[in-house]
Subunit: 257 residues, 2 copies
């Protein structure tokens, strides 16, 4: 019998979230699954790591006895680091998957996303990695249509690998009556969050703020993740961790520094 691939799973909504349970179930059909996921929600943690305090790691039986699982007090990036250098220090995962996130991580949201930070941390460690997100923020979101796409993309990555230093950012449209049209390879749309701070006063007469916001798409391109999702396609954006603006190097080299 062919050796089954080793698949490491994490997320940012925490180990009890419904999204990671769907991902574990989908990946168990493909390979051997190991989970290292945060023990609490870590949404919006970006690529944070835990430096100033210790990290806890405890075994979990939440996915049953046949899945080796740990809950971790750290961030999604910490989870991948602990998985690679401690839990799996003698084995190398064939694939790292993160999610399924409750909510979109398309366009600029990729940069704030804990889901994608786990995938990008894996890419830094030279492991093939995918972050999956469902464009539905509801805690009772319907994940039933995600399995087909999650498995299809994971199997392709296992078969073909990924370009060096690349992690995939996969967003899946919310379940609706219209059937999903397919999968589009896309670029990250140019957009930002138009922030509005909700200013309130606490019972002790001190002010505080809640971050609220609305996404603003500033990109009319038909090759973007936003376009794909709007037209009911699954979007797949290959992402890098080399932040160099290579196009800007020659302009800056003309400066008088």
């Amino acid at each position: 019998m062919e050796k089954r691939p080793l698949i490491l799973i994490s997320n940012d909504d925490g180990i009890t979230a419904r999204g990671i349970n769907h991902l574990v179930m989908a990946m168990k059909e493909i390979g051997e699954v190991v989970v290292v996921a945060p023990n609490k929600p870590q949404s919006g943690m970006g690529h944070a790591i835990t430096i100033g305090q210790p990290i806890r790691l405890d075994k979990s039986t939440i996915f049953g006895d046949d899945v080796l699982a740990y809950e971790c007090s750290g961030t999604p990036a910490d989870c991948i680091k602990l998985a690679k250098h401690h839990v799996l220090k003698d084995r190398k995962p064939d694939l790292v998957v993160s999610g399924i996130n409750h909510g979109s991580n398309s366009s600029i949201s990729v940069i704030y996303s804990g889901t994608m930070s786990a995938a990008i941390e894996a890419a830094i460690e030279e492991l093939p990695a995918i972050g999956f997100s469902l464009c539905d923020y509801g805690s009772q979101a319907d994940f039933s249509h995600t399995q087909e796409y999650v498995q299809k993309i994971a199997l392709q990555v296992l078969a073909k690998g990924l370009p060096k230093g690349v992690a995939l950012n996969v967003n899946i449209p919310k379940k609706s009556d219209e059937k999903i049209k397919g999968i589009k390879i896309a670029r990250q749309a140019l957009g930002h969050w138009g922030e509005e701070f909700d200013e309130r006063t606490d019972p002790h007469h001190r002010k505080y703020f809640w971050l609220t916001g609305y996404f603003v798409n500033k990109d009319n391109g038909e090759d973007t993740d936003e376009w794909a999702l709007k037209h009911n396609y699954v979007s797949v954006v290959p992402c890098i961790f080399d932040l160099t603006a290579h196009f800007g190097l020659s302009e800056l080299n003309q400066w008088n520094l």
Copy 2:
């Protein structure tokens, strides 16, 4: 008299760190300064934002009566959002600077850096932005040689602007007997942190981990930030927030999805 530029300052080491004080002093000679900085250390916070709890913002007189300053309970990215959408909602900064970080943010460290997340958040908001770091982690680090370079680069950005969507990642060598050779425009070196977790047992017999690590440079190029710093140049890397691996799009488009 010509109008002085408005300069917004943040950091990730917190408002009481010596590095931000040096940055405020250097920027006060160039323009009008407004500070919104974290009220506690936020190193390694990456591009985290605060979603699940409210954010506090309190006036501070730490830089004297002529500097409008606020300390914020949130992350560096939160500070920039609150500055733009609340503190400076009727004024647009001419420049956003972050730092001076106690420690290097070269190569892959840019992705974990709170200092750079403030600069990149400003770039997302279409503001010219620079993150400054000193390659000296010591709390008593000598910043005396940084002012010349910080001012020179800030003045160039004020004069020439930056390519759209670009923030600068500036790293300054540690003070030494050898004079700094100059400023190099560079790309982000390919490298990663070789993690080692220091496993300990607490007084209650439970295990915990400290994240430790050593930087591994995997890049022999002479056009990188690591090369520049090693040869005693200040490195300047233009950074983007579009994470798309454009070079990977055509390969992925040949997949059977």
